[in-house]
């Protein structure tokens, strides 16, 4: 039975790791094509992805893609378009309620609260043998935030 490993990362702390080893924060496509797209090479080698947990605390839902890519075959953002998009999903935003009332255009009242026992994020576990990534896994975001509050946890085997 294949040994399960975990890869984690987020663009809040810019800490990344895979298989118990820290990944250099610069393991990322530098050229974002003039947008705020980001792609980090989350797993640097051939692997099979068995499960994905994605968490989004941006203001809106965001689409996240897992690209079959590594630093060699994906030197810039233009190259991303030609690489296999193995997995993609839309991640709903963190669950909380917030609303602002403006009274007589004089002052605002904000009411906010967390929605009780409502797990955020998405977790998908895939059937054996899992999705094959020949080159490695790149986590791609192409929204509007330069430092998106997106987090990933990927379970994989090599």
């Amino acid at each position: 039975m294949a040994k399960i490993r975990a890869a984690y990362g987020d663009w809040v702390s810019n800490e990344f790791g895979a298989g118990g080893k820290v990944i250099d924060p610069s393991a990322e496509v530098n050229d974002t094509g003039g947008s705020n797209a980001r792609m980090t090479f989350a797993i640097p080698n051939r692997c099979r992805v068995r499960g994905v947990y994605l968490f989004n605390s941006e203001e809106s839902e965001e689409e996240i893609r897992l690209i079959d890519a590594n630093a060699s075959n994906c030197p810039n953002y233009a190259a991303v378009q030609s690489l296999p998009r193995v997995y993609a999903t839309v991640v709903p935003r963190d669950s909380a309620f917030s609303h602002r009332w403006t009274l007589a255009e004089v002052f605002d009242i904000d009411l906010k609260f967390d929605i009780y026992d409502t797990p955020s994020g998405v977790y998908n576990k895939f059937p054996k043998p899992g999705f094959l990534f020949e080159n490695g896994v790149g986590v791609l975001y192409f929204g509007t935030d330069a430092s998106p509050q997106i987090h990933w946890l990927i379970f994989y085997s090599e």
Binding site: A6, Y8, E15, V22, F126
Partner: protein, 155 residues
Amino acid sequence: MARLIMVSGYAVSSDVNDGGSYADSTYQMLNPRTSKPIRKFGLKQIIAWNRNGTVGGALVGFGNEEAIGAFGAIELHDTATRPTDNTTMMMKIPISAKSRIDMELPDNGLIFKHGIYIRVGEEGLNNGWVSNETQPPSGTGQKIDVQLVGYEYAR
């Protein structure tokens, strides 16, 4: 022979960038039968509850600043000694305020050879801990409770 067990603990928000330390926010998982540090553990299921946050609403303004819409990231380290940096980190899991996760890992799960420390993350992932607090909060408000289910392998 592997035995199915659950180990439990909690970690409290802190932030090494704001005067806290790794020691402030870490907890070592212990074997429930022997109370000794767990070792050679195949993690199969993660259950966690984030106590932070509020329900029933909170007014923002008028001097009230509740931690709304916060989340915390729980870290799992494979180490026998208290972690001092992220080099022993195996995974980091964000959990929304006043929410739980229940996650089952594929196959036989993830092996922790040396031991398990849990910890709440740093800046931006610290579960709403604000920088003007010089110490981690002593109450229960910013705890993340964690239960790990898995196989303890014979030593």
